[in-house]
Structure formats: structure tokens, C-alpha cells
Symmetry: C2
Subunit: 361 residues, 2 copies
């Protein structure tokens, strides 16, 4: 398979790591990156060292966004920063526009689309506090005649349906969208799909995550805000209007440890569309501790099913407690991106979830 | 994606289950099956009920083989029968030739190839006590001008190299070979590849399996024989020449519980070729208890690596003790078959291991 080139929209936590990780492997080259003020494009590959230095404050500051975001500078990635980018010393940096490789722009997404001949795939690492944000960004790619892969790391179940409504548009355009390609959904739904192979019928998938976020807290206030929307009595509309002090008050009231049950997490929709089980059989919960870097609980996927020979059993996948959510978001996201480029080149367009990129029958 | 049709060569444990499992799902249809005496072909789909009834004794008897095998009627599948097909009441059955759908033949593989317009893929579920057996069968498919997918469930590392030597032939012919697509390698190397996504460098992969084989023992004497070749002081040449009584004596001397360390298992070669880690970093072992159906130890994959942010951690995948090896071989084998057909249709030919069919970057 040929090498793969990609663009990153947003240079918060996920975006910056998406630039960083390919340096550890061959065959995957970032050629474009943008935030709301600037865009850097080099078809031969960006100078990642220089760009990362220039964007070092974005995960904490107000420049992580490309245009169109609703998050007011909150980081793009959900629970993805954890510990990887502690310290806000570079907050005053000027984002992508501060890079010697970049041009300033007021229309970064349009500019990225204009440069899309240079890349096979684009990773949307943008704030996501409005449900229709990712769908709206994909609309712009369709309208601009983009052909290729779009990967997002969204988390909310209902967004999958919004993307599905656009499936015909993607197919007509030659676009392959992979939705929910981060840690959860993404890594963990993929693992669930693999674990399901012992069974002819899956009875339940239980996803339980732990995140310790002390040193990464400053960089991940947006994550915490979005998570609070999952607590009883809150939703995204409510948390969007809360002040930072009110968010802090909620965190304090919980002693810094937020436990979530029955989250509306797209794992359910993505496992159902992959034919693994019904969405109703999927439960997602977890514990976020913003006052410790140690995970308060071990991230675990439990897949219970019935084998062809009539036994009921549970296969289990556990992430080591030392793996940051950052590591668990970005490796899978780039893996799914690579798999999707293969599909796209083979003429397979439309909307795919991570579990659909797994071998299965 | 269109529906997939496939053929099964060999109707021992794996072959019969490969006919059985697709009945639980849509989109995968067996259209041909053969053993050394007969072949059944129906492009619209075999009558699986009838064929399974006709071949019910094959896993224990002498008719599991297609021609060319070296195993003297031993079952085809390695440690795959466990408990699923206990009882030898049907041992006297006549194999595929006893099916109303079948024709007798002395050249089942040639006949299968002659019918290959009817199928997208072929699963080799044949005895495998000679290292070059699977490679030699693939040669015959190449020589006959077959285009499509060939899946095997081999276990020995050195066979991967033999198939690799033929990669140009496969590419020229339009054949996609997936090797080692059973439980281990196969299921467990796939799980290891998924687990590796947290890491930029994998330090070790430890595969440890448990199999309880009391009720399946009669049906899996060939498995036990092949496993004994992994014990200190034995190899495949040695065990091939042992009488059943001598095998029994070895089993007795171990109290029915055989423990294996540092097995030559293709997991190492397959993970290396997928770029997950060096073969030398992979260890495979396990415990086989032929006097209990309970697993003597839990089948576990442990992947230890370094994250991009400098942490070392271990991700773990465990199979529920109630899952038989039968369930863990056949689900993945058919999943890999399906994934390989997609690759083949996209023009991706040559040799692939299970881990290469996983999303990764």
C-alpha cells in the first residue's frame, strides 16, 4: 500500500499528537494542519518539530479551534489530554499562524479543502460541544468536492445518525467517513468487535473507563465540561452556559472525582451498526479523577455472549493503568484513518464505525 | 459489500464448524465442501444440515482429510475440537461421499479448484503434520489458475516463510492468502495488534492458552499428537512415527496435563510481519488438560509497550474460560476470510497474516 498523507483540523491535544505520533512509524505523513487563525500546508510533509513548537499552547489556550467551533477555545478531544501536555507555559503562543510554515487565514477549513489534493485523509480534531458540528464540517467537505477520508473522534450517539443521514452525499462525493475513532468509542468498540468473535450472539458489552487528569486538568477543562453534561441533571445545553467557576463548583462538590453511569456514548450505535449487538445491550460508564494522575479505575471492555456450542462466557480487554487517554485516543485514530484510506481507495464510501473496520463475519 | 461464498477443504472439526457457523449470520454462504473421498458443490449454497449429518464422524474418523494430507486421518484443526463434537457414535459414517449432495472423487482438491468460479474463498481445514502441506496445497491453486482467497489455520512459524516465498506467485495469480487464521495465531495475534495501539513501541507479547479437552479428546487425538511435538525432546518427525499407545503413554506420564513453554507458534512471525514487534519479543505457551473440560488456565494475551508519552504499560485480553477453542478458532477464521475477500476484491494479493488485517498505522 502506498504511503498515506493527511491533514489535521485543530491543533489542540488530539491534533498535536496526530502530528507527533507518525514520527514513530513509517508511511503516514502529515501534510496540512490548521487552527482558526492559520494553516500550514506542505505536500512533502510538514516540519512537525517546528509546528509543534509553534502550537505548544493550543491545548490550553484559545487557538485550538479551526473556524466554526462552538467550544470557545476548549480543547477538541474529549478526554484525550491526560498528562501528555501538562503545563501551560506556552499558552501565549499564537497557534498555527505562529509557525514559519503557515499562512494566516480566516477560512481555515475552506483553505484545507482547497489543498486537499495533497492529502488522502483529514482528521477532525475540533471542539465538539454542539452535536451537529462534525456533521456540518463534513457538509463543507462534500460541498467543496472533496474526495477522500474524514475521521472524527466524536463521542455522542446521536451524531452517528446525523452522519448516516448524509451517507448518500458521502457516497456520491467519494468520501469515507469514520466516526468515533478515538478511545471510546473507537479503540474500545474495536476491541469489543474483536472479543465478540468467540460468540454467535453477543448479550452485552460493558465499557468502563478510568481517567486520572491532575496534571492534564488545565489542558482539559473542555473535556471535564463535556463530561459533566453526562451527569444526572445536566446536558450539553446546560453545561455550555455554565461559567468556569460553576464548573469548578460541581467538580468540588464531587471531591474531584466524577463517576458516570449509562453515558450517551456512541459505542452503542457503532456496535449496533457493525452488527455486533443491539445498542440497548451496550453500557458505558467510567470515573474521572481530576486530582490525581493515577486512573481511579481500570479501563475495561467486557463482552458477554453465547458460543455456537451453547456456552455463555465473557471475554475481557483491559488497558494498562499507565496508558494515558492521549495514547489510547491517537494510536487508534491514526490506525482507523489508515484503514479507511485503504477502504476509500477501494471505492468503499459512506459512513463507517471503527467496529466495521475489524475483520468479522 | 456483496455476499461471500466459500469452500471448505476438509470436514473434520474446523471444516464442519465452518459449515455450521454461517447459519448464525447473514452474508456468508458455503457452496463447496470436500474430503478425501467426496466433494459437494452447490453454487446456491450447500444443504448444511444434510452435509453435517453425513460427515458427523469425520472429526474422529479417517475421512476428515482431502487428498494430499499426511496425518493418517487425524483431525485437521489443531486444538479446535474441544467439547463441541464429543462422542464418536457417527464414526462409521462415510464422510462427504455419504452426502446426497456429493460426488465421489479421488481428486477432491482438483475438483474444488475446478468449481472455484462458484466461490470467493477457500478455507483449508486439512491435517497439517507436515510443514509444507499448506504451501503445497496453495501451489496447486496457483497452478490451476485460481483467483480468490485462501485461508489456513496453520500454527508453525516456519510455514509463514514458505508461503512468503510464494508471494510473487500469489500476486501474479490474484490470490490473497491469509495464514494462521485460527485461535492462536489468528484470534490472539489480532487481539495483540489491537492492544498494541496504545504504544509507539511494543516490548513484548505474551500469549498463554488453556484448553480442557476431556470430552473432545477422542476427536482431537491429532491435536494432542501435534502438541506433543512442542514438548522438550520431541518434534513433528518424532511424533509422526509414534503409535497411539506411545502417545497415550506420554499423556499418562504427564497425568493428562501437558504444559508448553516457548512453543514454535506462528504468532511471532505474524506479529513481526505486521510491524507490531520483533518475533523474538513474542512468547507462546499454554496448558492442555485432556482429563477435564475445564480450562486449566485462562487464555490471555499480554501486550507490553511504551506509550508516546514515555509510560510503560501492559494491555490485556482474556478469553472467558467457558469459550471452547472451537468457538475461538472458527469465528475468527471466518472473520478473517471475510476481511480477505474484501482485500482480494480491492486487488490486494499475496500473503497476509491476521494482524495485518487489523486497523493500524
Amino acid at each position: 500500500m502506498d504511503d498515506i498523507t493527511f491533514a489535521v483540523l485543530g491543533t489542540g491535544g488530539i491534533g498535536r499528537r496526530a502530528l507527533d505520533l507518525p514520527r514513530h512509524k513509517d508511511g503516514l505523513t502529515p501534510v496540512a494542519a490548521c487552527d482558526r487563525h492559520g494553516i500550514a500546508v506542505d505536500p512533502d510533509g510538514l516540519d512537525v518539530d517546528e509546528l509543534l513548537a509553534a502550537t505548544a499552547g493550543d491545548a490550553a489556550g484559545g487557538d485550538a479551534r479551526a473556524d466554526g467551533g462552538a467550544g470557545g477555545g476548549r480543547p477538541a478531544d474529549g478526554r484525550a489530554g491526560g498528562g501528555a501536555e501538562a503545563g501551560g507555559a506556552a499558552v501565549e503562543r499564537g497557534g498555527v499562524a505562529a509557525s514559519a510554515q503557515a499562512e494566516p487565514t480566516e477560512t481555515p477549513i475552506d483553505d484545507a479543502i482547497a489543498a486537499s489534493d495533497a492529502f488522502d485523509a483529514v482528521l477532525l480534531a475540533l471542539p465538539n460541544l454542539e452535536h451537529d458540528f462534525v456533521p456540518r464540517v463534513t457538509d463543507r467537505f462534500v460541498e467543496a468536492g472533496y474526495e477522500g477520508v474524514v475521521v472524527d473522534v466524536l463521542k455522542r450517539s446521536r451524531v452517528i445518525g446525523m452522519l448516516d443521514e448524509r451517507a448518500d452525499d458521502f457516497e456520491e462525493a467519494g468520501i469515507t467517513v469514520v466516526c468515533g475513532a478515538g478511545a471510546t468509542p473507537g479503540f474500545l468498540t474495536g476491541a469489543a468487535a474483536i472479543a465478540a468473535q468467540s460468540f454467535v450472539e453477543v448479550e452485552s458489552v460493558e465499557i468502563w473507563w478510568g481517567v486520572g487528569l491532575e496534571s492534564g486538568y488545565e489542558d482539559n477543562r473542555g473535556t471535564v465540561r463535556e463530561d459533566i453534561a453526562h451527569l444526572d441533571g445536566y446536558d450539553l445545553d446546560a453545561v455550555r452556559d455554565l461559567s468556569d467557576e460553576e464548573i469548578e463548583g460541581i467538580v468540588d462538590a464531587h471531591g474531584g472525582v466524577l463517576e458516570f453511569r449509562d453515558m450517551e456514548h456512541a459505542d452503542d450505535a457503532l456496535l449496533e451498526r457493525a452488527g455486533i449487538c443491539d445498542a440497548a445491550d451496550v453500557t458505558v460508564g467510567g470515573v474521572l479523577d481530576v486530582r490525581s494522575d493515577e486512573k481511579p479505575t481500570t479501563t475495561t471492555v467486557r463482552v458477554t455472549g453465547r458460543t455456537f456450542d451453547g456456552e455463555t462466557a465473557t471475554n475481557t480487554f483491559e488497558l494498562g493503568d499507565e496508558t494515558s487517554m492521549a495514547a489510547n485516543v491517537n494510536g487508534p485514530a491514526l490506525g482507523y484513518l489508515t484503514a479507511a484510506v485503504r477502504r476509500n481507495r477501494a471505492g468503499d464510501y459512506g459512513v463507517l464505525g471503527p467496529a466495521e473496520l475489524m475483520p468479522r463475519f
